[in-house]
Symmetry: C2
Subunit: 147 residues, 2 copies
DNA sequence: TTCAAAGTTGACAAAAATAGTCTGCTATGA
DNA sequence: TCATAGCAGACTATTTTTGTCAACTTTGAA
């Protein structure tokens, strides 16, 4: 079980926007350089994020992207849901395999528990939390250096 | 984020063995029929499970597989670790991308939290738990039917 | 007004992972 | 001794992931 690059890149890109929140928009190009992600690939991801209403685009010269809500109101789960899709462990649709008899399915409850656990974690961490963590990390590192 | 068929099939197969624990060994063929999984594919999975020491094989006529420990001592996490590999969110090795500067990495802490959460859930649920859940489900269903 | 920066869209494709199949083999209990 | 069942590993097909690219649209700024 792993996160694809869509999720990983997406969170990193959104983190950049969160760091920059309140200032001028960030262009795809800028973000792609900062996080070392393909510009073209990022465009795809931002297409999804925009459709989902997580970011707003500002066209024209000096345009770019901004968060459509404050970082405190966007969770990592919101981003991952858009880019990775909701966690689908099993189909639960096909009526032919024996897994469709939900009442008797031994594993269904298990998948639900795993999914809920991940959702609980990802939806409880906001971009603001990440920015705060990041800033305290930097302060601690500075202190360690004796600055 | 999703579980591959390896993990899903593997847990289902191990659940069958747990249901059958204490009785005669179950052959790949039997399991493949009960859970409707390709016989050849299951062989692959059981190869891994055997090497990991989760199951024992009994060769020859009337042979098959049995759990090598009681169901209460095998967690779902044990199975998933073998079949899906441990949860690798990011590489954290390549020194060239900016993600390698772990002290400054904004997302690393996040991936760790997600991973730990999944591990905590999967490693706390044993095959015995699943069997118990399954049995209570059946009882409840029977009562609802007025039996 | 013109131009260049920047977003938008959708097609395309390489690469990797997943899922599944098959063949020939070995071991062993009945 | 032979049918049953596991063992090993090559092989293939399919899907998903991970990008790339080109043509087009919008719009702020000079
Ligand atoms: S009913 Fe969907 S996992 Fe069993
Ligand atoms: S250092 Fe591995 S995720 Fe950043």
């Amino acid at each position: 079980m792993k996160l694809s690059t869509r999720g990983r890149y997406g969170v990193k890109a959104m983190f950049e926007l969160a760091l920059n929140y309140g200032s001028e928009p960030l262009s795809i190009k800028t973000i792609s350089e900062k996080q070392n992600i393909s510009e073209y690939y990022l465009e795809q991801l931002f297409g999804s994020l925009r459709k989902a209403g997580l970011v707003k685009s500002i066209r024209g010269a000096q345009g770019g992207y901004v968060l459509s809500r404050p970082p405190s109101e966007i969770t990592v789960g919101d981003i991952l849901d858009v880019l990775e899709g909701p966690i689908e462990i099993s189909e639960c649709i096909d009526d032919e395999d024996n897994c469709s008899r939900i009442e008797y399915c031994a594993t269904r409850l298990l998948w639900i528990k795993i999914r809920d656990s991940v959702n609980q974690v990802t939806h409880s961490i906001t971009l603001e939390d990440m920015v705060n963590d990041y800033k305290s990390m930097n302060i601690i590192t500075s202190i360690k250096r004796g600055e």
